[in-house]
Symmetry: C2
Subunit: 313 residues, 2 copies
């Protein structure tokens, strides 16, 4: 699959050759069934949707040209990635995604063919997860491409936040870590929605988040004050021959990291996981200990917090 | 009030001199009481909020440097404008705003002082309308500034959409039109939230939208197929000596345009309006007629659809 160029050298086939109204009509056509008619979708001042059931979850993540994708990323994959980054955040709380709005900031030279593929990739991913694209905006931006997607979800049962881990809790991670960019995992990944919802229903799981900025950094966020993670190098699941530094420091893993109560029956949890997700690896990396009591053979995670390309507030 | 620069020539006092974690902490400090603690606000994978009551309204509008503000726009006003553009969309359906998320795409040279003022302006506007900023994201973007705000609202009673006008319906507009940029109205405006909610409760009001791309363009959107607006030049309320072309073609008025059923008692509506909003002008511009039956003395609106700086999908 060859990557089509984002910007074209001549006006033909670009955003600036299309009228503004025509561009919006094209976007709705590319989105297809993912784009319901207004006022439930694009076309009025606001989208009007049914309220969330249970609690409402909200997350926003952008896709910036040159930061989150480049000329090697197929446009369809870039479009899917915009939604998947946000789906991963809903997964990390154990929720279900519902509706999204997308704001595009575009250079006039942007290729309509590229944009078509981008939106088709976005729409396909939306359909797979029953997400509707209900609103949007298109603005001029010279020299760059910024797509910002806000995703709304709901959680009828328990949600898992980042806080609540205690001393002695076990630290688990799904899948494998590292080398997300060279392997294409950064756009090919599957958001862990089913896994997140399943984990939120397990009483022994205490806290959870997704791994997007590298495990070393993200695990610091999951660690309560006064504690430290004792993680062992040999236990870290590595993607595609990743080094330890890559597994701990690279970003964009989009896996789930979570803590499990120290006194829980781990074999029971692991057995139930295997039945529910036979193809998704689950690994215990270590546990939370009192700060200052990290065993000498554990990894010094502070040495691996290199990944800084973006921040989630 | 002098405008502070968005980009600084040296690293000191810029985003790149601040750590990523420090920047997010600063943003939360600048937002103050508008930023509730996680998981109800910034700091977890998603924000967790109560569901909307009635129906949920969703809108997204960005603020792009050089498009929606420039070096003459005070940073506080730019921050307020980011929210107000979205408030105007909630107003246009008669809803009430609730919570917002903000995604920033920033150049490393962005001034922290500018960003502080921007967020303080945003927070002040949020407090005025009881809106909480519950989530955000910060990403790198070379050479530009893009802030994208998604606003969620609710409508417990009737909502007004853009459709539903009929032949003979009267066309009304709030406030005055034109010269939004030279007068500073494009950032100083007051979103018509109270007016929009009031109008949604009036049975004789049939359809409504906000005027953001110029009346001539927006009125085309409000016009049902088979009809045309018959608007009279002498009736168009003009801001600050605006010409007719400016009043009809300039963008960023952020007023409400709506239709009123032909058989309704207009003096009763206008009297009630004056009691409710004694300081807000209300003007009847003309009415919807059958296409092809526009009187020769009415304005030819198609000649005034010049404003193209952005599109709302």
């Amino acid at each position: 699959m060859s990557a089509s160029p984002l910007f074209l050298p001549t006006r033909r086939g670009t955003v600036s050759s299309s009228g503004e109204g025509a561009l919006i009509r094209s976007i709705r056509r590319w989105l297809g069934r993912s784009s319901p008619p207004s006022p439930r979708g694009i076309g009025d001042d606001c989208a009007v949707v049914r309220p969330a059931r249970g609690r409402e979850l909200i997350t926003v993540d952008p896709l910036v040209g040159g930061v989150h994708f480049d000329h090697r990323t197929p446009a369809r994959e870039a479009g899917a990635k915009l939604l998947k980054r946000n789906l991963s955040d809903i997964a990390a709380m154990g929720g279900t995604p519902r509706v999204a709005v997308v704001a595009l900031a575009l250079d006039g030279r942007t290729s309509l063919a590229w944009l078509a593929a981008f939106h088709k990739g976005l729409a396909r991913e939306a359909r797979r997860h029953a997400v509707l694209i209900v609103g949007g905006d298109v603005t001029r931006l010279d020299g760059s491409f910024v797509a910002t997607l806000t995703l709304l979800g709901e959680a009828r049962g328990r949600i898992l936040t980042r806080s609540g881990s205690r001393a002695g809790d076990w630290i688990y991670v799904t899948g494998a870590l590292g080398r997300s960019l060279p392997t294409g995992h950064h756009h090919g990944f599957e958001p862990r929605l089913a896994e997140g919802a399943w984990l939120a229903r397990r009483a022994e799981v205490r806290a959870m988040m997704d791994v997007s900025d590298g495990l070393a950094r993200d695990l610091a966020t999951l660690t309560p004050r006064g504690l430290a993670p004792a993680v062992y190098a040999a236990l870290v699941p590595r993607r595609d021959g990743a080094s330890l530094a890559e597994a701990l420091g690279d970003g964009e893993d989009y896996e789930l990291v979570f803590s499990v109560a120290s006194r829980s029956r781990r074999p029971k949890l692991e057995h139930a996981w295997k039945r529910a997700f036979p193809r998704t690896r689950l690994t215990c990396l270590g546990r939370f200990v009192k700060a200052g009591a990290v065993p000498p053979d554990a990894v010094t995670l502070a040495e691996h917090r290199g990944y800084e390309h973006h921040a989630t507030a």
